[in-house]
């Protein structure tokens, strides 16, 4: 399998052939946005921008959950994690995300019980083993983590746990695509849709977006050949003036997506307005716990004081996340803002555009 499922999609000859095809058909510059930070990372890592013709410009989308989790929620997490009876659990990346005054790492350094988990089910296990503590999980993410977070709530319920809750910061991709396309400063002419979001959700949400905004949308995977193929298919459409939805990641994604996962998401979450860090509130762009699960909502459970979020005045991450600027245009990039000392969330996670540029393009 390895040959087919992995190295097959890294085959240098196949990649070069596809790049040549693109060179043959491209007649003018086009701007393509890859939604997902994982794809941004892959584009930088494999230097795909360098092997593609210069007419292809990537702008990097908001699909990095660590980057878009609102500053208010990070501050809330910091406050909850600082409480004495709490074990605060989170994916590792969130610990270094700057809050207004401190990050979760600092809470831990000051004696707070902050633990990194790999899966929300690990947080449920910690709750089982620590009945005298309040265990909170920082449930961030796009549609990819929602099935896991929803299942953790159902599992806590099935086990009768009274000490488990989640701080929900779920965001959804299609409303963000609409927001980007509706902006007067939009430059995006085609989307590479996030393959793993589509593994869960399918791509039945996209045809109306493609039709309304006359924009090609190609579902794309994460290997270099996947991304080049996604670019090829968008260029074919752009050159012909078409705007269809296509699936270039058929080994993982189907039109309807994972129905079982969608059903559980629907059982536990409902749509809400959501604030995105650096971008602002996008209507109906997130999920929150339904009323019947309110007991598992850390937001209800903890009386968190008024929060007055304060973003670094230098950070232009919001414009980067919407494709209006590139990391190089930030005066702090690589000087006072580095992965060791991030001023903004996009410098933290390897899927953040600033961190990906820092890691791969400074030494090119």
């Amino acid at each position: 399998m390895d040959k087919t499922l992995l190295s097959g999609f890294r085959d240098a000859d196949l990649i070069q052939t596809r790049v040549n095809e693109i060179k043959k058909i491209i007649t003018r510059p086009w701007v393509i946005m890859e939604i997902c930070g994982g794809q941004t990372h892959a584009i930088m890592k494999y230097g795909l921008e360098q092997i593609l013709p210069s007419e292809v410009e990537f702008i990097h989308g908001p699909g990095c959950p660590v980057c878009v989790t609102s500053l208010e929620l990070v501050d809330k997490a910091v406050q909850i994690a600082s409480q004495p009876n709490v074990i605060f659990t989170s994916y590792g990346d969130m610990l270094r995300v700057p809050g207004s005054s401190q990050d979760l790492f600092a809470v831990r350094a000051n004696g707070g019980d902050v633990r990194v988990v790999y899966s929300p089910l690990d947080a449920v296990k910690i709750a089982i083993n620590n009945p005298e503590k309040e265990v909170v999980f920082f449930a961030i993410g796009f549609e990819t983590t929602a099935p896991a977070n929803a299942m953790a709530v159902l599992q806590a319920h099935a086990l009768g746990l009274n000490n488990f809750s989640i701080l929900v910061s779920h965001v959804c991709v299609p409303p963000a695509m609409r927001a980007i396309l509706s902006s007067p400063s939009n430059r995006v002419q085609a989307f590479l849709a996030a393959g793993h979001v589509c593994a869960v959700m399918g791509y039945w949400e996209y045809p109306p977006i493609a039709a309304e905004f006359h924009i090609p949308i190609v579902v794309t995977g994460f290997e270099p050949l996947d991304i080049i193929e996604g670019v090829y298919r968008t260029i074919v459409q752009l050159e012909k003036g078409e705007h269809k939805v296509e699936n270039a990641y058929s080994r993982v994604v189907t039109f309807e997506g994972n129905r079982a996962a969608q059903a559980v998401i629907k059982q536990v979450f409902e749509i809400c307005d959501r604030k995105w860090r650096g971008i602002g509130t996008i209507p109906a762009s997130g999920w929150k716990l339904k009323q019947e699960w309110a007991k598992y909502d850390a937001d209800n459970r903890f009386d968190v004081k008024a929060i007055n979020p304060l973003e670094s005045p230098l950070c232009i991450a919001g414009q980067i996340l919407q494709g209006m600027k590139k990391p190089f245009e930030c005066p702090a990039f690589g000087t006072i803002c580095t992965p060791e000392n991030p001023l903004g969330a996009t410098m933290v996670s390897s899927e953040g555009a600033c961190a990906a540029y820092y890691q791969y393009s400074l030494n090119r």
């Binding site: 089910l121 990819t144 896991a148 050949l225 994972n258």
Partner: protein, 83 residues
């Protein structure tokens, strides 16, 4: 953190009412929840994300995609030879 990783299911069992499995990521094994892939069998390939299988990976589709791309290479090579 949003990246799913492909792996092979090498064991299936149940823990506290949840369908779980051992997943082999090219030598490293990890546990994952298989509730969302009820049809999964030992030997299937799956995409794992934050401890959950999001979908099964279709080897057939993977082969087909690669075959199509390989054909392009062959056509190009033929054209080069004719030139």
């Amino acid at each position: 953190m949003c990246l799913g990783v492909p792996g092979k299911i090498i064991e299936i069992y149940e823990v506290s009412g949840l369908k779980m499995g051992k997943i082999d990521f090219g030598g490293v094994t990890r546990e994952a929840c298989l509730e969302y892939v009820p049809e999964a069998q030992i030997g299937d390939y799956t995409l794992i994300h934050v401890g959950f299988a999001l979908n099964l990976i279709s080897e057939e589709e993977a082969k087909e995609t690669l075959q199509l791309l390989n054909q392009i290479v062959e056509i190009n090579e033929e054209m080069v030879q004719k030139d």
